[in-house]
């Protein structure tokens, strides 16, 4: 596989300039923040390894779901219901746990639920021929509701939350998050570098008409992106669900989709489709998460942190949208 480094160079050259610039920026920013945290932990005598072991389980679900959503957004579609899907997958996990199924069964069911619902979203988008944003906006409410109904019906004496005490049910999220993250990242990057599907998704997002004229079927490609996204989302759900002791169907994954979308867009993926990378998303998710601990070490007032985080997202994304909108306006007038 001696050609892989050279393919990496090719991959880099294949990316549009805007994406390259963003990735370059994120690499520098992520390293800088990590360096800062490393320096602070050394100065205060805490352990950097401890800090890292806290970061990994928390950042993994966002990275994994982000990879899945990247493919979908590249197609010019979106999935707003991933937070609710996470809630639903967690509920299924909780019910099975309450009914004393083995850990492996619970894990498999959690993964399968998230995967199936994501693929179902894709089917709806394909069949209804409606914008994905509308279909999944309905899903956002519907899957959350389904989780609550399921919890009420499926678990006897259910009130508010499931409690998962035994550590055997926590292995993916607590012990293997880092391993899962690294494996998935490696597979994703390989796929991105050597796969055809990601390139075709970009093609759909770039111009549906041109796709049709080249003999491709746009609706089918978008569906494929949702199915691919389902695999990533299933793994994300698995890590997130097994990282908690309590699972609250009403609250698990609430607002998760917004963090993920922010990570994807921060990573240089155009919200209008047509450009984007897995690498960028992974770096974007890391950046977004690292701002939190970095501000903690920098001694930023606790009440200010969320606002600063929001400001960072807004600044980066609004510049991008402004550039893109301007370009679209000029094209429109030509």
């Amino acid at each position: 596989m001696s050609h892989i480094p050279w393919e990496g160079v090719r991959f880099w050259r294949r990316m549009p300039k805007t994406v390259r610039r963003r990735i370059g920026f994120l690499i520098v920013a992520d390293l800088a923040i990590l360096g800062f945290i490393g320096w602070r932990t050394a100065a205060t005598g805490t352990s950097f390894a401890d800090e890292a072991s806290r970061i990994v389980p928390n950042v993994t679900p966002i990275v994994l779901a982000g990879l899945g959503l990247t493919g979908i957004i590249c197609c010019g579609a979106i999935d707003l219901s991933i937070g609710s899907i996470l809630g639903l997958a967690g509920t299924v996990f909780g019910i099975l746990h309450a009914r004393e199924f083995s850990p492996v069964t619970c894990f498999a069911a959690c993964f399968a639920t998230a995967f199936a619902v994501s693929a179902y979203n894709g089917l709806l988008v394909r069949w209804l021929r409606m914008p994905a944003i509308i279909v999944t906006l309905a899903g956002l409410a519907f899957y959350r509701g389904a989780a609550l109904i399921l919890a009420d019906v499926g678990a006897t004496g259910f009130s508010e939350q499931f409690t998962v005490q035994r550590s055997a049910y926590h292995t993916p999220g607590r012990e293997h998050a880092g391993l899962i993250l690294l494996t998935v990242l490696a597979v994703a990057f390989l796929w991105e570098t050597f796969g055809k599907s990601p390139r075709r998704w970009l093609a759909v997002g770039s111009s549906e008409m041109a796709c049709r004229l080249s003999g491709l079927r746009p609706q089918r490609l978008v569906f494929q992106a949702f199915v691919g996204g389902g695999v990533f989302l299933g793994l994300a759900a698995l890590v997130e669900v097994t990282n908690h002791i309590t699972i609250e169907p009403a609250r698990l994954g609430l607002g998760f989709e917004l963090n993920v979308i922010a990570a994807v867009v921060l990573g240089g993926t155009s919200i209008f489709g047509g450009e984007g990378t897995y690498v960028g998303t992974a770096l974007g998710a890391l950046f977004l998460y690292l701002i939190g601990p970095a501000m903690l070490y920098a001694g930023v007032n606790e009440y200010w942190r969320t606002a600063v985080q929001g400001g960072a997202i807004l600044a980066v994304i609004s510049i991008d949208c402004a550039l893109s909108r301007r370009r679209k306006l000029i094209e429109e007038l030509r």
């Binding site: 090719r10 294949r14 050597f194 055809k196 041109a210 003999g215």
Partner: protein, 517 residues
């Protein structure tokens, strides 16, 4: 004798009751470059779309190689060896040249299943080299110029063993050297046995390139000529048909007042260059030219959507440097855009809002709109411009094209502007509304306004204007006045042939009806 490549027999197609083409018989032989010419609405693009599988014909049959064929999708046409290079190039701007060329085909793979990028780029490079191009196939398509994109598209079609290549107005956005290069490549294609259908408004190109020319008018095939046996004058007569007998309104005195709008040496790269013109009070100045000649681009610069790079403008005696359309509206200059649906109207909204938006800022008290005054003005306008709607609350999108256009005109003309730029004001408008709009434009000039009238309808521009400026490749090359103002001459001038062609009409007797000699 070889079988013809394509045969259309009694092919007809209509859209919503309007016949786009009516029973055309057309035969295209192998290895020729066939020109397809005709005015707007003659049916050229319908024929292209039928051949490229965008939609099937209503009646008649299409035979390829003597076999009757029915394309269900563009894919089927591609498989049959028919490739169409669209006027508006469609590609994937963010993907590399190689990916663009091979999209829709099987990509080379490594043993373990990954895409063999080296082979992919090499294959694309090979296809480009075969076509005589050397480009880095890693570069993204978005970085390429319009000409390069076109060449890449053509090179891509060759590799797909296309037997028929259809080009729709391919030179609209190309520069002169790029056009020459395209021509030499098309000739080489022909020498390799590929048949080419070349659609263009530019007669100079038709004469330079094609072997045979097919003339369409109003959805019918009027004539086919071998290029060796025809001259531009004949071709133009075929395209225009019998002299237009429509009468255009003329209540204005014809005396022009002081200059209202003056342009001197105005240029903007890629859009227009060195444009000078004057529009006087009480005058209708026609601006003719082909698609891509830069007419709308010029109009938008005057209106302040973007700045010109060099040159100067003057409005009503003062210097005119608008930074924003808002300034134009304040200064009494309006621009009614060509595409009313995309740029002009708020389609889903009520008619009253669509009209009121143009002048509601003038009917305010303490910064708030005075609803009653506005309602009165709107209902007056609906009556005055004869906009046929059930009531003022009807959504604009449900009105007919003519009424939409009248609403758009009402909106801006109610501001009582001094200079009015109308961009294709009668496109897609029924005959009745058309003559109402003509009367309205004439009335404006009679009231002493200056009108710049952009139109691709030859009869209209010649009939309505006091003089016609003809744009070609971004600049005004010809000004036609008096008896020179004929549809024939406008066509010649738009292709840059006016000065040298012997068939140009200066004979007073041929001036169209309704115009004093």
């Amino acid at each position: 004798m070889l079988q013809p490549l394509v045969e259309l027999q009694h092919v007809a197609k209509s859209f919503g009751g309007i016949h786009a083409i009516k029973g055309i018989d057309l035969t295209i032989d192998r290895g020729q470059i066939v020109g397809l010419v005709g005015e707007n609405g003659a049916g050229k693009s319908t024929i292209i779309k039928l051949l490229s599988g965008v939609y099937p014909p209503d009646q008649g049959s299409i035979k390829i190689d003597g076999h009757e064929t029915r394309f269900a999708s563009p894919r089927d046409a591609l498989d049959a060896g028919i490739t169409t290079i669209q006027q508006e190039l469609t590609g994937f701007d963010h993907l590399s040249i190689a990916e663009n060329m091979l999209m829709g085909e099987a990509w080379p793979r490594r043993k373990w299943g990954g895409v063999d990028w080296a082979a992919l780029y090499a294959e694309a490079g090979r296809r480009l080299t075969e076509f005589g191009l050397s480009l880095d196939t890693h570069r993204t398509l978005g970085e390429m110029t319009a000409a390069a994109k076109q060449e890449i598209a053509i090179a891509g079609t060759l590799a797909r063993r296309a037997r028929l290549v259809i080009l729709d107005e391919p030179t609209a956005s190309l520069t002169e050297p790029e056009v020459l290069r395209l021509f030499s490549q098309l000739r080489r294609l022909r020498s390799q046995g590929v048949t080419i259908i070349y659609v263009s408004h530019r007669l100079d190109e038709i004469f330079e390139l094609t072997d045979r020319v097919v003339v369409l008018r109003d959805g019918s095939l009027v004539a086919t000529h071998r290029m060796a046996e025809v001259d531009p004058g004949r071709l133009v007569r075929d395209m225009v048909g019998r002299p237009l007998d429509q009468v255009y309104p003329r209540t204005r005195s014809g005396d022009s007042g002081p200059a209202l709008l003056e342009l001197a040496g105005l240029s903007k790269a890629g859009m227009f260059r060195d444009v000078s013109l004057t529009i006087r009070a009480g005058e209708i100045v026609g601006l003719a030219g082909l698609v891509g000649a830069g007419r709308s681009e010029l109009a938008r610069a005057i209106y302040g959507l973007y700045r010109a790079e060099t040159g100067s403008m003057g409005l009503r005696g003062g210097a005119w440097r608008p930074a924003h359309p808002r300034e134009s509206l304040k200064a009494g200059l309006v621009y009614v855009p060509e595409e009313r649906k995309r740029h002009g109207l708020v389609l889903e909204h009520a008619l009253s809002d669509a009209i009121g938006i143009g002048f509601s800022d003038r009917l305010t008290r303490f910064g708030l709109i005075r609803p009653r005054a506005q309602r009165r003005r709107i209902s007056e306008a609906i009556g005055r411009y004869d906009i046929r709607a059930n009531d003022a609350g009807q959504a604009v999108v449900t009105l007919s094209g003519g009424n939409q256009q009248k609403a758009l005109l009402a909106r801006w003309l109610e501001r009582d502007p001094q200079v009015i730029i109308l961009d294709e004001p009668t496109r897609g408008v029924d005959v009745g509304a058309k003559s109402q709009i003509h009367a309205l434009v004439d009335e404006l000039a009679a009231k002493g306004k200056g009108v710049l009238f952009i139109s691709s309808d030859l009869g209209e521009i010649v009939g309505m204007s006091d003089r016609v400026l003809v744009m070609n490749r971004g600049t005004i090359e010809t000004e036609l006045r008096g008896a020179e103002m004929t549809a024939h001459n406008v066509i010649l001038a738009a292709s840059g042939l006016y000065k040298q062609d012997a068939s140009r009409e200066t004979d007073l007797a041929r001036a169209p009806d309704g115009r004093p000699p």
